[in-house]
Structures are given as C-alpha cells and as structure tokens.
C-alpha cells in the first residue's frame, strides 16, 4: 500500500453517473408485543421515511446518536430485515434496476454477493468454531459461487489484499488480535467482489493505531476494487476522514444530507450544529474558542416521538411551527438536503477549520 494521489481528487471524478443504490421512503417499524397473546401495542419507528442515494464509487457516511436507526437502515439495505415500506432501488451491473425491498428471500440470493456488510465487533461477529478459511469462504460455498479449488485461491488472494497472511488460513479467530479480526471481517465481506459494502461501525471497537491501519486499508481497497461504501458510524472524526457525503439521522429520520466539507463547515440543521460542537478537537489551544452547544434532555423515544419536528424539545431555535408541523427533507441547492423549517433563516456554526 503505497502513497497515492489525494483521495478527494479521485472521488470527485468517480461521482458522476446514476446512483448505485437509491433508498426511497424507507420504513422499518418494529412491533412492540405485549402480553402472552402477542398483542401489538405499538411500533418502534426505527427508520421512518428515509431517502438517500449512494453514487457509484463514493463513500456515504451515516451518523447519529445511538438508537437513531442508522444500523437499521444498513441492515435493511443488505436485507437482513424486510423493510415495512419504501423502496431500495439497486442498479445492477447491466444497468437495470431492481427493488430490493420487494424481492423475496430466494430472489435475494443473486444480490448477496453484490452487497456485503462489515460488522462492528470483531470479537463477536466471527464464529469461534470455524477457522478463517471456513469463515471467509462460507458465502462462496452457500451460494455456489465457485468450485472448491478456486475457493482456496480466492480466499488466499482476498486475505492478502486485506493484509493477512494466507498461511494463517487454517487458524481460528481466537488466535488473532482485534485489528486482524477486523481484517478477517473485511475479507469476509470482500471475497465475493461486491459492489456495495455496508460498514457498520467497522472501526469503532479498535485502538487508535490499529484504527488508522484499517481506515487506510479500506480507503486503498475502495480505490483498487472500485468499491462503494455506506459507512455507518457515530464517530464524526472518522466519518469526516473517509466520507464524500454525509447523512445525519435523528430518531429514525434523516435530518440533513450534504457533501462532507459543506456539512462540517456549514451545517444547516440545528441538530447537526450541536453534534459538530460536541466533537472534541485534539488541540488544547482551541479549548477556549469553543462555545459548546449544550443539548438539553435525551434522545426522543422512537416508540413515542414528539409531535412536529422530533428535535424540537431539544432545539434552541424551536418556534411554534416546529411543535405542530413535521418538516420535510428538502433540497436547498448544491445537493444539500435539510429537514428543518427555518434552514434558510438560521445562521449556524460548523467546525472551526485548523
């Protein structure tokens, strides 16, 4: 992995063209079951009318606090969950579209190799009773993607790409450190040569020095294999580092979506602003300059969200209209989408550039 040209240049050229994946009004409601007869007493709206698109070759970040539904969206896209409503339009390699939200489990087999997921916890996401070869090749075996002979070659090749030594193929996960396990997780996702990879908090459980190695590896792989990432994380510094565009979620709804630079320096939603002001900046000299916005209260309960704009009880700019009317996600130009009634009027502060 050698030094290459800055990523921003590469990504801007690959951004053109139609989206690889388009999520339209995605809804995922989980029923709350009460009593022994399984009466449904309500729904947790983990994802509610979420719409965004991922362009081929880009990295889209999905941020939000815990419980905001970002993982749910990721799992809907890999179809670990069957969405309650909405569309997930996937553009196949032959330029035809298919709605993954409607496809049944048998039909999904064809897309299992195209859309893959990397999980957060490298300790619990690998089966301790399977060795590395079995873990990585499982998807090939189950889906009959190649012959046993090719399999060994393919696994070895993928392991090498991910910075693992193919000789360790017959070892079990316990023999590897956290960083190496995350590499196994990445190899597991990449062995089918996918087009879209959902990275669900893929670097959150790692130490600082290992995290840097994995981030660089993912960046290199994206460039070399022409991958598209949906990068889910709560760590705003990591998102800033790896993403082209960023979507912010709050209680199951998308509140803002924009180019990473724009979103960080010029946020238009009050929630994004408060998130930005809460990020600790590793420079002691900037300590005095920061005026942090203190968010009052807690994240709203997704089974019983507030009326109007879900953020209004914690928003310092909230007016009467916010209490009654739910804001729609609208385009404010330059591909900057915001769900706030007063996005044009508010003057919000982003991250101070160093």
């Amino acid at each position: 992995m050698t030094e290459q040209t800055p990523q921003s240049q590469l990504s801007s050229t690959s951004n053109s063209g139609k989206p690889l994946l388009e999520v339209k009004n995605l809804k995922m409601y989980f029923p709350i079951v009460k009593g022994i007869f399984g009466k449904i007493s309500g729904y947790v709206k983990a994802a509610d009318e979420v719409s965004f698109s991922i362009r081929s070759g880009e990295t889209l970040g999905l941020v939000g606090e815990s419980g905001c539904g970002k993982t749910t969206v990721g799992r809907c896209i890999v179809r670990a969950y069957k969405p309650t409503g909405g569309n997930i339009i996937y553009r196949r390699a032959d330029e035809t579209d298919v709605d993954l939200a409607k496809v049944d489990s048998k039909g999904l087999q064809a897309y299992r190799k195209d859309i893959r997921i990397i999980f957060q916890d490298p300790f619990s996401s690998l089966n301790p009773r399977m060795n590395v070869f079995e873990i990585i090749s499982e998807v090939l075996r189950v889906n009959n993607l190649c012959s046993p002979k090719e399999m060994e070659y393919l696994v070895a090749q993928t392991m090498e790409q991910c910075g693992l030594r193919p000789e360790y193929m017959r070892r079990y996960p316990h023999a590897f450190s956290g960083g190496e396990r995350q590499r196994i997780g990445i190899a597991h996702a990449l062995v089918t040569s996918p087009r879209l990879v959902v990275c669900d908090e893929a670097v959150s459980g790692l130490d600082v020095s290992v995290r840097a190695q994995i981030l660089n590896l993912m960046e290199d792989l994206r460039r070399d294999l022409n991958l598209t990432y949906l990068f889910i994380s709560h760590d705003l510094s990591v998102i800033r580092h790896i993403c082209d565009r960023v979507a912010v979620m709050y209680v199951g709804k998308l509140v803002e979506l924009a180019d990473a630079n724009t979103l960080y320096t010029n946020p238009l939603h009050p929630y994004t602003e408060s998130l930005m002001s809460a990020v600790p900046i590793p420079d002691p000299d900037l300590r005095e300059y920061k005026n942090r916005i203190r968010l009052e209260g807690e994240v709203a309960d997704p089974s019983n969200p507030p009326s109007g704009c879900y953020f209004h009880p914690r928003c310092r700019y909230a007016k009467d209209r916010c209490r009654t009317e739910t804001p729609e996600l609208r385009d404010l130009g330059n591909d900057h989408f915001v769900a706030c009634h007063f996005a044009d009027e508010l003057e919000l502060v982003g991250v101070r550039m160093a």
Partner: protein, 366 residues
C-alpha cells in the same frame, strides 16, 4: 509460582518518600509502581515502573492503547487489583489532612486490600467512575439505594439525611426529576443518565481525588460533551484532583492539565497538555498524534504505527516500543531506557534522550 514471587521480593527496592511533601498541593504520589499478573502462561508485567503525581484541582490524563496498563494503575490507587494481579513494588502515597494542623501520608500500596484503612479511603478520599455504566451499577438495587450506601458508610448519616443528600447529588449532576429517579432501578435509565448516577455516587462524599476510567467511551458525542462539562464544573467547585483515563486524544485535549502517555506498562512521556500536543518528543506520542483522523482536517492518508501492540507474554527486549518505532537504533533492543527529564515538567522514557546510553542518538533523531 513460589520462586517468581521470591525473586521479586528480593529485588524489591525501598524508596524513601518524604512525609511532608505537601507544599505543592500534591494529593497522591505514585513512585515506581509495578503490578504483575501471575498467570498460568507466565508473568505479565502489566505496569512496570510508573511514576506520577496528581495535584488538587488539576486533571491528569492517562492515554494509551488497550493493554498498556492504564486501568490497572488506576485500580491500584484503590487497592482493587484482583488476583492474579499483584502490586509487587512501588509506593502510592496519599497525603491527607489528619486534623487541623497535621497532615499525614499513607502508603496505599502497603495497605491490606480488605483492611480498615483502605476502606475508609475508598469512596471517601478517592472515588472512581468506571467505563461501563451498564455493568458497574448493581441491577438489584435502586439507584438511590446504591448512592445512599456510600453516604451512610462514610458519614454516619441516618437514612433520612442520606436520602436528602442523595437527592441533592442527583439534582446536582443534572438528572431531571431526581425524586422519581432515586427509586428507579438502573435498567430504566439511559446510558448518559446511568453515568450521571455513577458520578453522583462517586462525588457524594466530596472526594479529593476522582478516578475516571474511560467514563465517556461508551457514550454518544453529545452526552460525552455533557459529562465532560459536568466534571469540569465540579472540579472547579470542589478543587478536586482528577485522574482521567481515556484513549480518545480529543477528550484529552479538552480536559487535561497534564498528560501521561503509556505504552506496555511504562509512562513513555509525561508533560503538560500543550507540550504533548504541540511538541511531543517520544516517537510513540508523535506517531499516536499523527494517526488520529481529525474533524478539522480534510481527507488525507493517515500515518500509521506499523505492527501492533505485542502480546504481553512476548514483551520485546530493551525498549518495548522498539519494533514499531520509526527512530529505533540498534541499542534500543538491548538497553531498557530510563526516564529522562527534558524540562521541569517534561519526562521522556526513551534512549534518544539518554545521553549516558548513547551519544550519536540525537543526530539520528534529527
């Protein structure tokens, strides 16, 4: 096992600690602390000669990757290092006011873990906030019950007084409707609330030293910001010393007065927060700072530290960082570095700065 213990006892050095060194508001002094874990696979030197002090009203941040011994060091201050871990050498001297004009020094490392003296210190002089608010509160008792227990034990207050004080503390740490939350079980509270309840418990007896072991790692950024603000304002009010353990350098930059960077059981660099961030000298500190993605910077390749933290059973010879160090010299694999004082408040544990060990070292570094 017996022979290992024996050898360590023979090698154990006695360090003379002045009894009245308390002119600089020093709360606690740790000198050459060594904690080893005697496991079946061998001895792990989890903490290998750590020295630092904490002053009242100041925050010392301990940073390092997992397995560097930062949590064990913190636990040693309360004598809660569990078997197979054992404090094998070193002193932890706590200075406290005995009465009006008399101060006393207590060497915590020599105290009996279940003895009467350390139990009067835990929760009173020194208290601790743990990483996971989920597992560190008992699920069997209400939040109020757990806080009241501490208060009644240390102040001898009766039930009613303790409850009053608990309500006061809960309100103080910003928990809404404390009169209701006091009778709730921990599982009913969110992560941020639980951490606040932990802080309320830790502060209920006005400790002079607060140990916070990754208190915000499991929390969201917005909650993390709230908790950090809270701790800072409490520190101002009570002139409390804080030992803050974290691996998040952003948090360090925000709250630390002094920083101790740890690697495999050693403090490799110790200085004030500005020096650590703007003029780090140890190669590990330098690489660590370059390997973090910054929210203020645009996308570029991160610099990585090659390799990974070695297994504690296979500790490299000489300087434990030398296999990953960019400035390693041949001598680094042979000689264990000594701690060198660069300025009054800047200590580095590296052979590059040890004039007695090697002369051409400086040239290689530049």
């Amino acid at each position: 096992m017996d022979c290992v213990m024996q050898r360590i006892l023979i090698n154990k050095r006695e360090i003379k600690v002045p009894l009245m060194a308390n002119n600089d508001n020093i709360l606690i002094q740790v000198k050459d602390l060594k904690i080893h874990f005697f496991t079946n696979e061998g001895t792990v030197q989890a903490v290998d000669g750590v020295t630092f002090d904490i002053r009242s009203g100041k925050t010392l941040c301990m940073v390092g990757e997992s397995g560097c011994g930062k949590s064990v060091t913190a636990r040693a201050l309360l004598q809660i290092v569990h078997r197979p871990g054992k404090i094998v050498a070193g002193d932890i001297v706590l200075y406290r006011q005995k009465n009006q004009d008399q101060a006393e020094a207590i060497n915590i490392s020599k105290l009996e873990p279940k003895g009467h003296v350390i139990r009067s210190i835990r929760g009173k002089e020194i208290s601790m906030i743990f990483q996971e608010p989920m597992t560190s509160l008992s699920p069997m008792y209400t939040v109020g019950n757990q806080i009241m227990e501490t208060i009644r034990l240390h102040t001898g207050a009766d039930k009613k007084q303790a409850r009053g004080r608990t309500l006061e503390m809960l309100e103080f740490v910003g928990i809404p409707r404390p009169d209701r939350i006091i009778d709730e079980y921990p599982f009913r509270l969110s992560g941020g609330m639980r951490q606040r309840a932990m802080i309320a418990m830790a502060l209920s007896c006005n400790p002079r030293l607060l140990i916070a072991d990754e208190p915000t790692t499991a929390l969201d950024v917005t909650t993390q910001a709230q908790i950090i603000d809270l701790m800072q304002s409490l520190q101002k009010d009570y002139d409390m010393g804080i030992l803050f353990i974290t691996h998040d350098l952003g948090v360090v930059a925000e709250i630390a007065d002094n920083v101790a960077v740890m690697y495999l059981g050693n403090v490799v660099e110790y200085s004030d927060v500005r020096t650590i961030f703007h003029d780090p000298q140890h190669p590990y500190t330098q690489s660590l700072l370059r390997s973090i993605p910054k929210v203020t910077a645009t996308r570029e390749k991160l610099e990585v530290i090659r390799g990974m933290v070695p297994s504690p059973f296979r500790r490299p010879s000489g300087c434990p960082f030398h296999p990953r160090c960019t400035k390693a010299m041949p001598i680094c694999s042979e000689v264990e570095p000594k701690t060198v004082s660069l300025t009054e408040n800047h200590l580095v544990h590296c052979l590059l700065f040890d004039e007695s060990a090697k002369k051409p070292a400086r040239e290689m570094a530049s």
